[in-house]
Symmetry: C2
Subunit: 224 residues, 2 copies
């Protein structure tokens, strides 16, 4: 029944359809917003880093990705055009960075780190967020975030298509509230107020629908 | 005030803290779930593909990423261990694939595509989803999804850290309901029932908090 409803809605919904050439001809800011939205709901994280002189940097990223669990690797896409270059140069200099989940309690401060501050100013000071240090590495965490990950740079990939860079880090520390972690290792990020982002500026509060069972070929999917 | 509350909560919250060696020693399934959750809220998409014999494949991915808006590029992380190899081999054979946003109306069918079906069976048939074809390329879209993207393979990156592969596609077609697209190009994905995913199996319904203004250094962030 739901299947039929979806089909009917899709058949009657008026669609925008753009081909590659039509996308090229769109106004630049319109295309930027449109294309940035198409990748869907993304995570919002603050990347903490420090240069060889001990100057800290903090920048909001919507491009944190899972690369592997064993060994544990995560990646970030570094685009010099839209994010400060300081994050990349700091990570290259000192070899470490942190990923800190953006939560509703400090969302506006986190977003403000995307402003183009001069390199000698730290976003920790300018955006009133608090650096937190670990004994394991020099990169600063964000105290206000309760889901914090420390990583050591392991690999740098250059995307020939458009010159972006993907940095792969190996997880060397995880700090997460015990009350979020289920017996099977699942982390209920929503209990910490963790937000999601669409495009460059639209923040969302995700609420759980359900966890679905491991899918097996014998099973028949439900109506939805 | 909110700043102080956050600090106090963080100071009194009992934390799990794992270093790299302790992560290695975790039970394998626990570590898989834990690490997969740390990358935060991710998009859920069905990747449609077809081989040289015209046999279709459909697989759910949580690794779609934005690579660039001009020219428009998106990427997916292909991990042979957790997703069917058919997607990768089909894309290599025919050079095209589709990204279709998973929406609540067909969530269970979409999740069921993660089952390990034999290569000769199509997930479209097994999971009761409907292929939809475009004149521009041979890869099948999902009719039930109202946010559909057609891509041509442009680049393949090999992650040395763990052998995963990142495929970069150039967007050659976008199909999205007109009612979702704002005047500035922003796409209100939630209006189409688009879901988000944490880890491998936990689905979420994101509701808007707000869009924040472009951040400038002169601005002072609010209390949160």
């Amino acid at each position: 029944m739901l299947h039929l409803q979806t089909t009917i809605m899709s058949a009657t919904t008026e669609m925008h359809i753009w081909n590659g050439q039509q996308l090229e001809q769109l106004e630049q800011n319109y295309r930027r917003d449109l294309i940035n939205c198409l990748s869907g709901f993304k995570s919002a994280n603050l990347i903490g880093s420090v240069n060889a002189d001990g100057e800290t940097n903090l920048a909001i990223f919507n491009s944190v990705m899972h690369i592997g669990a064993n060994p544990p690797f995560m990646g970030i896409v570094v685009r010099p055009i839209t994010v400060p270059r300081n994050t990349y140069s700091n990570i290259k200099q000192t070899g470490f960075f942190t990923i800190n989940a953006v939560q509703a309690s400090f969302l506006e401060k986190a977003h403000q780190t995307s402003a183009n501050y001069p390199a000698q100013l730290s976003e920790f000071d300018e955006c009133k967020l608090t650096p937190l240090y670990s004994a394991l590495h020099p990169a600063p965490y964000v105290l206000e975030s309760t889901v914090r990950i420390g990583l050591e740079l392991n690999e740098e990939l250059h995307v020939k298509s458009n010159g972006t860079i993907i940095l792969i880090g190996r997880i060397i520390e995880v700090q997460v509230p015990k009350e979020l972690v289920a017996k099977d290792g699942f982390v209920a990020l929503e209990k910490a107020g963790t937000v999601s982002v669409v495009g460059l500026d639209a923040y969302y509060n995700p609420t759980p629908i359900k966890r679905l069972a491991y899918a097996r070929p014998q099973a028949k999917p439900g109506n939805n």
